[in-house]
Each structure stands twice: as structure tokens, then as C-alpha cells.
Amino acid sequence: MNSVGSALPSPLAAASSRRTWSRPMLLTAALVLTVIVAVQFGAVPIAASDWLNGPWSDATKTGGAHVLWQLRLPRLGLTLAVGAALGLAGALSQALFRNPMAEPSLLGVTSGAAAAVALTLTVFASLHAVLPAQARLWLLPLVGFGGALAVCFSLDRLSRWLAPGSIAALLLCGLALQAMTFAVVGLCSFIANDDQLRAINFWTLGSLAGANWIMAAVMGGALLVLGTLALRVAPRLNALALGEAAAAHVGIDVERLRWQCITMVALLSALAVAWCGNIAFIGLMAPHLARQLVGADQHHVLPNAMLAGALLLVVADTLARTLAVPAEIPVGVFSALIGAPWFLFLLRGAVRRMGSA
């Protein structure tokens, strides 16, 4: 395995190593602080005794303890995991496409899930009546997950067939497939009745309101496995940053790397989108923040993008559920409202540094 980082001259490496340890610590501290604040704030006040009544005790059936253990904590867990998953998926997409504007939705994940859900709600609406009640709860998340993976992998097949090996062609095929899936959603909205239309709308807006411990556990488990795998491809992603041809010259199987990255991005964001709908901007934003903090080495970018994604989403969701109590504002409003100005600020810094270099 080759590592681009080890090839740096020593003073630069020393500076970079200071940066790669002190700043992630700051990011982690910020995240811990935000989580503490997020647990405290909510529509229902939490008493100290609610903490003592663990999830196993009878007291958690109702009242503050129930809110804490069955609503707020699982939601916070899911928010952390989804934010980290979106951040990681974004970092992998940007490394794979070697494009700072890439994000998971370019692989068709979001639009694939939306199209599958829209079809299920309208054309196959009778499916709902056939299924037993228990299965119905899982229908939309499963269909969304399936749709996301289906579009993602057919995109991979299509681009291999049309222009094998070219990552630019993958990007363009993605845009074309996205247009087609949006057409499907548009058609479904047209034939939908009022109720179905609103259900489609709700799904495309994104929300973490339905969180429970199962979701948080599945998402956290997937994150653990895929995060570990992602770190293992980091050296090869560093080499890919030099270009596809250069990466191939140092002995990297670009095809295989691409396949691995796409699978990881698809699984991570399909899981997130299946349960929470479309949450904009985290996947685009988090990797930029990570690179600002720790430079371009993927060993550091990937974990820091996870931290940054989790931080952003927890802040956004805490605002979403506390500002309009007892109602709730869609989380996508805040992820974009906080993310976009921050993004512009980072852009300004990056352009200045490029100008002075």
C-alpha cells in the first residue's frame, strides 16, 4: 500500500500531524457539547430522576422518563448515526468523483428512493391493503432502500456499458437517471389523490421524528461496519486523488475501488434516506468541513466528515424540534439554513488560500 501522506517533506508533515490531532479533538468536543445540550432541550422538561429510571424500569411507560428513554435518546442516536453516515457517504463520493461538488444524491440514491416510494404510494397503493399491519410499517423504508440501491447499481451497470472506466461518464449517467426518476415522481404526483400527494411530499421533505431504538441500532451498526471498511480504502482513495491513470500506474484496481465505494455510499445513504427521507446538504457540507480542518488525507477526512455530519445534523434537528414547540419544523430547513452560509464561509477561505499559494 502506498501512502501519499508519508511522501510529504518532514516540516510539513509535522505541521499536518499537529493539525490532524488537535482539530478533530475540537470537533469531538463540540459534538459532545451539542449532544449534552440536545438531550436537555425539548418540548417536555426532563427531571434528574428520569435519568435514574433506566429504560428497563416501569416508570418509563409514561411521563418524562418515557420521553427521555423512548423518544429523545433514540432520536438523538439515530440523528448522530444518520448525520455521520451522510457525512461519510459524502466524503466517499467526493473522493471517488474527485469533485468537491459530488454528493450521494449524484449516485441516484435519493431520487431512486423517492421514485420507489412514490410508485408504492400511488400505482401500487393496493399493496397496502394486502399486507398485514405489521409489515405495512416497514413497507416504505424497505421499498425506499430497495429503490435507492436499484437506481445506484443500474447506474453503475449503465455507465460501465456506455463508457467503461470513466468516472466523468458515471457522473453524467447519474444526472440522466436522476432526471428519469424525477419524471417518475412527477407522474406519480400527477395521478396521486390528495392524501397520496401529501404522503409523497412528507417523504421528500425528510424528518427524524419517527426514530426508535431499532432504527438507531441498525444505522449505528451499519455505520460501524462500513466506516471500518471505508478507512481500509482510504490509502487507495488518496492515490486516486492524483487521477485515474496515475492510480492505475501505482497498481490500484480502479474498477474494484469504484465498485467498493459505490456499494458503501449506496448502503449508507439508502439506509439514511429510507428512514428519514431526503435530508439535504449534510453529505455535501461535512466533507468540506473535514478537509478544512485536517487537509486532504482520506485517513483523516473520512472520520472527521463523520464527526462533522453528526454535529451538523444534531444542531439542525435540535433547532427543528425545539423552536416551534409543540409543533416541529422540517429538519431540512435547518440543515440547509446552517449549512449553506457555513459552506460559503469555507469557500471564501479556500479561495483566498488558493490565491496566496
Partner: protein, 293 residues
């Protein structure tokens, strides 16, 4: 002295007494999700037990002073629980399903009442709410009053509609200056137009459709029916008639636009009988009559 046996045999009778009389029932803390349900709760005199309403509960205006739990389809479990409800009453619109499951898990009784576009549905919901709130007597009285109003209103409709062709009515729901949706069959607007002995000009289509100029012209409505809220959004009657196609319809040519408050017209609540009378009077008025509120 009563033996233990006697006490036990008396218990069921005592329980029945407690259930029957309101005096013993503890006051409920009710969240109403659905404007028509809120109106019915006020009509039953149970507004003191209301602790929260949704964003469609705009009438009576006192209801808007209560904590607002937001839009019926995007409820938040923690927000609902923060009001410490003993009961949530909702129409079938309430959601998302995941949040309803969370409510169930928190042991808050959730009562979903059917929302249908029939007057009989209003009576059914009145009865159901009366039972839930322990106000059966008030519910019976309200049902009788509403039924009497409805019978009178229907008789008046028959009278108004006699002797001329049923007017073709197009219901336009606009929420912005340049876009609108029009109501086909199986909508609340369609039901009210039918009760008013008029014809829905878009009866062939089902549900709400985007307004297309050609469809509006082909529907050839004699009257355009709109809501006060929609009219505000689209800039008054003149603004409404600027929507593509509407000016070219018979209704647009003669500027016949009937305007009613959204929840009164479409809510299927206690204001429905009076709304029907108002609607029918406006729809069957001689041509040339203008705006009705």
C-alpha cells in the same frame, strides 16, 4: 354492617353510576387534530378540556390561542406529550404513522374519527366525541339541532334550485398568485356543490387537479367557488380571474365568484348546515350578482 360480600356485589352498580354521571369523571386533557373536531368540541361546551389544537383549528378564534401542535400530517410526539394529554382526537389525516405509533407506546389514547364528505359523518363524529368526553346529553342535543338546521337548509336548497338549470360550479383552491388547483369528484368541495343542487363542472376528474387553462375553459363553469384564504393569496377576485383560462369561462366573463371561509365550506363540522344555505343562496342567485362572503 355490610359484609364483605355485599360490598363486592355493590361495586359494579357503583361503577355504572360513576360512568353515567359527569360529576365523577375527571376532566380530560384533549388535543384536537382537525379544525372540524375543534369546532365540535366547542359546540359541546368541552373547550375547557382542550389543551392543544392543530393548524387547521382556526374557528372559533379562541381556539387559535391554544398551543398549536402544527400541521396534522407532521405531528411531533414529544410536542404532543409536552401538553400532557389524556386523549388525542384526530381525523384520518393525522400522521406521520411513526409518530402515531410513538403516541401509542406512550400510552396516550388516540381516537381517529372518520373524515368523510357526508353530513351524516358530522352527526357520527358528534356522537363519538360526546361519548369520549362524557357529554352524551350535549351531543344528542347538538345532533338534533344540527339535523334540524340541515333539514331546513336542504328544503331551502330545493326551493332555490327549482325552476332553473343547475349552475355549473368550479371550485378553485389557490395558494399563490399564479397557481391553483381545481376540485374534481371525491372532494369535500364536490360534496358541498352536490348538496347545493349544483353541478361540479369538473365532476369527470377525481381529486384535486392542477388548474390548466384548457380544462377550465372546457369545464365551462357558470360560477367560480373560492375560499377567503385562497382569495387573499391570489389577490382578490381580479387576481383570481387572472389565473390562466378562468377569464375566458362564462363565470369569468360575468365575474361570478362565490367566496366562502375554508373550514366553514369544506370542514364538515357544526357550521356545515349554515354554510350550505349560504352557498346555495349564492349559487342560485340570479346572474349578475357578485361576491358573497
Amino acid at each position: 354492617m355490610l359484609s364483605r360480600r355485599h360490598v363486592l356485589s355493590l361495586a359494579p352498580a357503583a361503577a355504572l353510576l360513576m360512568l353515567g354521571g359527569r360529576a365523577w369523571a375527571a376532566p380530560q386533557r384533549v388535543i384536537a387534530v382537525g379544525g372540524a373536531l375543534t369546532e365540535l368540541i366547542y359546540e359541546l361546551g368541552a373547550q375547557g378540556e382542550l389543551v392543544g389544537v392543530d393548524s387547521t383549528s382556526l374557528y372559533p378564534s379562541d381556539a387559535t390561542k391554544l398551543p398549536n401542535v402544527g400541521y396534522a400530517r407532521t405531528l411531533a410526539a414529544e410536542g404532543l406529550l409536552s401538553l400532557a394529554p389524556t386523549m388525542v382526537v384526530a381525523t384520518e389525516e393525522a400522521g406521520p404513522p411513526a409518530v402515531l405509533r410513538q403516541l401509542e407506546a406512550a400510552k396516550v389514547p388516540l381516537h381517529v374519527l372518520r373524515a368523510e364528505h357526508r353530513f351524516e359523518g358530522v352527526l357520527e363524529r358528534t356522537k363519538a366525541l360526546g361519548e369520549l368526553l362524557g357529554r352524551q346529553r350535549q351531543a344528542t342535543a347538538l345532533s338534533q339541532k344540527l339535523q334540524a338546521e340541515w333539514t331546513a337548509s336542504r328544503a331551502q336548497v330545493t326551493q332555490l334550485a327549482a325552476g332553473h338549470r343547475a349552475p355549473r360550479v368550479l371550485f378553485v383552491l389557490s395558494n399563490a398568485a399564479n397557481q391553483a388547483r381545481i376540485a374534481g369528484s371525491a372532494t369535500a368541495a364536490d360534496a358541498m356543490i352536490g348538496y347545493a343542487a349544483a353541478t361540479n363542472a369538473l365532476g369527470d376528474a377525481q381529486g384535486y387537479k392542477m388548474l390548466s387553462p384548457e380544462a377550465a375553459i372546457a369545464a365551462a363553469p357558470d360560477v367560480i367557488l373560492a375560499t377567503t384564504q385562497g382569495l387573499d393569496a391570489s389577490g382578490g377576485i381580479d387576481g383570481l380571474l387572472k389565473l390562466p383560462g378562468l377569464a375566458q369561462t362564462p363565470a369569468g366573463q360575468s365575474k361570478r365568484v362565490v367566496v366562502m371561509e375554508t373550514m366553514a365550506l369544506l370542514g364538515f363540522g357544526p357550521r356545515t348546515p349554515k354554510a350550505l344555505t349560504t352557498l346555495a343562496q349564492a349559487l342560485h342567485a340570479p346572474a349578475g350578482a357578485g361576491k358573497t362572503a
